[in-house]
């Protein structure tokens, strides 16, 4: 068997002691493999990115019609504290939040690998499953941002009138921090769900419920401020559960809806939830692996 020209053994052959693989190098390799894998289907990917903005277009028209009706009926120009421009800006920004926090296919792939035994390969190699998945997800996202930057910039440029200028530096920093945390939180939340596959044979219905709740209560479908006046303290409950950090929170931060002490508090809570899910994911994984038994080759 001939080796490719750029073949570099992971273990140094000249060193007779069983070399320890350089962890950083393993991670770099995993990242590179994942990026390359992602780029294979870049055409499919670019098309998907462009398509993602289509529902936004219908939202613009829908909300325009709603605000028009509200203005005509009782002269009000805001709905749940949002002006029409803010509402559209909000939907645009949740696209950004979701670009960070959504993890399509993550949980189902983990559950599938547990079920069909593919997970064994991570358990016997010096490769950490969660670490590998995280890196491949980062790679996925990096490629996505590169491919999506164009369409995103175009859409935001076309919709610039919906924004009242750039927010101040603090807001932008807070926005970026909340996006990064949204990514980490989204990843570990979904990974934990997927790891439940160690106990449940089929997690797809659980995932569906998660998706449904995320869609509705993360602020992806509408700003959760709209729930505030509803009975059973629905607004309060939805604000208490962590889903809002996946879509609503970053967008509301950017729009300047959350400022000062509220902002610091919000970021603190998001950090709390993020750490919670990292720990939860680790614990679930360790418990799951202890439970797992693999047979056959």
């Amino acid at each position: 068997m001939s080796l490719p020209a750029n073949y570099a053994p992971e273990f140094d052959a000249s060193d007779h002691s069983p070399a320890r693989p350089n962890r950083l190098r393993i991670w770099a390799t995993m990242l590179r493999i994942s990026i390359e894998e992602r780029l294979v289907y870049r055409g499919d990917f670019a098309l998907g990115t462009l398509m993602r903005f289509l529902p936004l277009l219908t939202q613009v028209f829908m909300w325009s019609a709603i605000f028009y009706a509200v203005r005509r009926a009782d002269g009000a120009s805001t709905i749940a504290g949002f002006t029409y421009e803010e509402m559209i800006a909000y939907y645009l920004l949740t696209q950004v939040s979701r670009a960070f926090s959504s993890m399509p296919g993550l949980a189902s792939v983990i559950a599938l690998q547990i079920r069909n035994g593919e997970i064994k390969k991570y358990l016997i190699q010096p490769v950490d499953l969660i670490g590998f998945l995280l890196l491949s997800r980062i790679a996925h996202k990096l490629v996505y941002y590169v491919v999506a930057a164009g369409p995103f910039a175009l859409v935001f440029y076309l919709c610039r009138d919906y924004f009242s200028g750039w927010p101040d530096a603090t807001t932008i920093l807070a926005f970026l921090a909340s996006l990064v945390m949204a990514f980490i939180m989204g990843f570990f939340m979904e990974a934990t769900l997927g790891l439940l596959g160690f106990w449940l044979l089929e997690v797809s219905s659980l995932l569906f419920i998660y998706m449904l709740f995320t869609f509705f209560f993360s602020g992806h479908m509408f700003p959760i401020d709209m729930l505030d006046g509803l009975p059973w303290h629905l607004g309060t409950i939805v604000r208490a559960i962590p889903l809002q950090y996946l879509a609503y929170f970053p967008a509301a931060v950017f729009l300047g809806k959350i400022q000062g002490a509220d902002l610091a508090w919000g970021l603190g809570l998001q950090l709390f939830w993020t750490v919670t899910f990292i720990v939860l994911c680790r614990v679930t994984f360790n418990l799951g692996v202890r439970r797992y038994s693999g047979y056959g080759g």
């Binding site: 028009y68 009706a69 449904l212």
Partner: protein
Amino acid sequence: MRDIATGTMGESGSPFRPSYGKVFFTFARNSLVRDMTFRSNFIIESITSLSWMAMNLAYYILIYQFTVSIAGWSKMEYFLFLATTLFVNAIVQALFMPNCEEFSELIRTGGLDFALLKPIDTQFLVSLHKINWSSLWGALFAAGLMGYALWFLPEMPGPVAFLLYPFYLACGVAIMYSLMISLAATSVWLGRNQTLYDFWFYITNFSRYPLEIYRGAVGDPIRVLFTFIIPVLIVVNVPARLLAKPLDGQNWPLAVFALFATAASLWLSRLVFTKAMRSYRSASS
């Protein structure tokens, strides 16, 4: 020679003609038997499909907390619109969605060979061989919502509207089906077709809103595009308006056009399907 798309035999073949009605009935029966074999799965699927509908409804209930109308549609009128959307979705999902998805997969894996060999129209076979019974709960939900909305509507629509409604609902389903099977058939050329579902979702997304909302410099071209070129705006709007806005003068030209759009969509999708089958090269070994 056997015509690969239609599955009928030429002069040299036997004059065998399958009974499509019976075959469809067998498909439906087998699917039901299969669903009932995995009962808990069926129940879970039913619950998820119903909760999705409930969420949809809840969203509009929420919006109508803040407004009395959207683009001239009052709450109850809009519920009729929503019910129509849910009807169309339920039927498409029950009959065609699982099949079209599998069709793409059959093309990719080469499994389509077996479908092509069967002495029946291939399009019929791949479009209908599996029926997703749990999606039909959606139709029941839609019927309930429709009954509720009609009850509270200030004026009951006339008998003509009620007669035409199912017919135009069927037209809507036919348009959706045409779009879906055409998209699925493109797998022959594109190979991998993961974005098929996304594409379908994004295109049909335009159909879920009253056409009045598409106004202005961008809205007008969109309305024209999705009415006349890819007629998805017809799908829900025409039947829903018959019930919700029976006196609207715009209805009749649109209703007549819908007939033409349905026929054209079906014909075009057949064309795409046949063309795709001619380009199909088996992927099996």
